[in-house]
């Protein structure tokens, strides 16, 4: 397997659990509109929803400070999301650039990634609890090539690898902004049994992307995919040619 590109967590991301933010008043980080949205979230998902927004806003404010030298309050960065669409980040000042954001939560734990759309492309992130999959489920979302790699992994590492493959596919779909209305089998990941990614194909077409992942408390996998669509994408193609 040609190791064309080494992938690493280069873009910004952050993780928070609800426990860390439960004492923070909602009004300090949610806009009035977001507070209305929050009231409609089912009880079981409220904590994760809040933690995810907190993460994303922290990252967005940091990026705005870095790129625009603008100090923005958390509640001024408004995040809205329509069903099966990427969350949208509304900024409190006029700019021709947009922030590309992605949120994910699993129970009370949440992660978020933010990227400058023009400079860094599209970003998607995902957090999953490491689990064992039944073979019929694996067959449903993995390609035969990915199953081969999974079979070569040590028995103790199979759940991690299977969850990782799911999580990266999910993060990619989120970066694309389509979610689960796109079959995960259309995506094929080049990965070795140690979890090193060397490529991503979507319907047999190579996608210039960076993939990063990490394990949290031996229980969760966090993954992030950055589709290098703009200048980074061109550079990637020049390099690989």
């Amino acid at each position: 397997m040609a190791e064309k590109v080494l992938f690493a967590l280069t873009l910004m991301y952050s993780a928070y659990s609800f426990k860390q933010i439960k004492k923070v008043p909602l009004k300090t980080y949610l806009s009035d509109r977001e507070i209305i949205d929050y009231k409609e979230i089912p009880e079981a998902k409220k904590k994760g929803w809040l933690a995810a927004r907190f993460c994303a806003k922290k990252e967005a404010c940091y990026l705005l400070m870095q790129n625009y030298k603008k100090k923005v309050l958390l509640r001024e960065v408004e995040i809205t999301r329509k069903r099966f669409q990427k969350p949208v980040c509304k900024l409190p000042f006029k700019t021709n650039r947009t922030l590309n954001i992605s949120l994910s939560h699993c129970g009370e734990l949440a992660v978020a990634s933010v990227a400058d759309n023009k400079a860094e492309g599209l970003v998607g992130c995902d957090i999953e609890k490491i689990r064992d999959f039944k073979y019929n489920i694996l067959k449903s979302f993995l390609t035969p090539k990915e199953i081969k790699v999974l079979k070569k992994a040590k028995l103790s590492e199979k759940p991690v690898l299977a969850t990782l493959l799911w999580s990266v596919k999910e993060a990619y779909l989120k970066a694309k902004g389509v979610g689960l209305v796109y079959h995960p089998k259309f995506i094929e990941l080049d990965i070795n049994p140690k979890g090193n990614f060397c490529g991503l194909r979507d319907k047999d077409k190579e996608v210039p992307a960076e993939i990063g992942w990490s394990i949290y408390k031996n229980k969760y996998i966090f993954s992030k995919v950055n589709i290098l669509k703009y200048s980074y994408g061109r550079r990637f193609r020049e390099k690989s040619n």
Partner: protein, 77 residues
């Protein structure tokens, strides 16, 4: 017949999402019932197995509630 289908659908949802049947109403939103994306995907696979038909993923956009699943099956299976 319609009642049978309703029961069957609720049974598949309950088993694949790991939630009590009593919590599933016809107007429950699938997104709210599902604890995570893997469970949601498992539910799609379970429906494909139960009704021996491949789900068209693009059509999933139209499915919001349990009632929508029943209509989809009536139309497509």
């Amino acid at each position: 017949m319609a009642e049978d289908l309703e029961k069957k659908v609720i049974k598949v949802i309950s088993k694949s999402l790991g939630i009590d049947k009593k919590k599933i109403k016809l107007d429950s939103k699938i997104e709210d019932l599902s604890p995570d994306s893997i469970r949601l995907f498992q539910m799609i696979v379970a429906f494909e197995k139960e009704f021996k038909r491949q789900v068209e993923y693009e059509q999933l956009m139209k499915i919001v509630t349990v009632k929508d699943i029943i209509s989809y099956i009536k139309k497509n299976v």
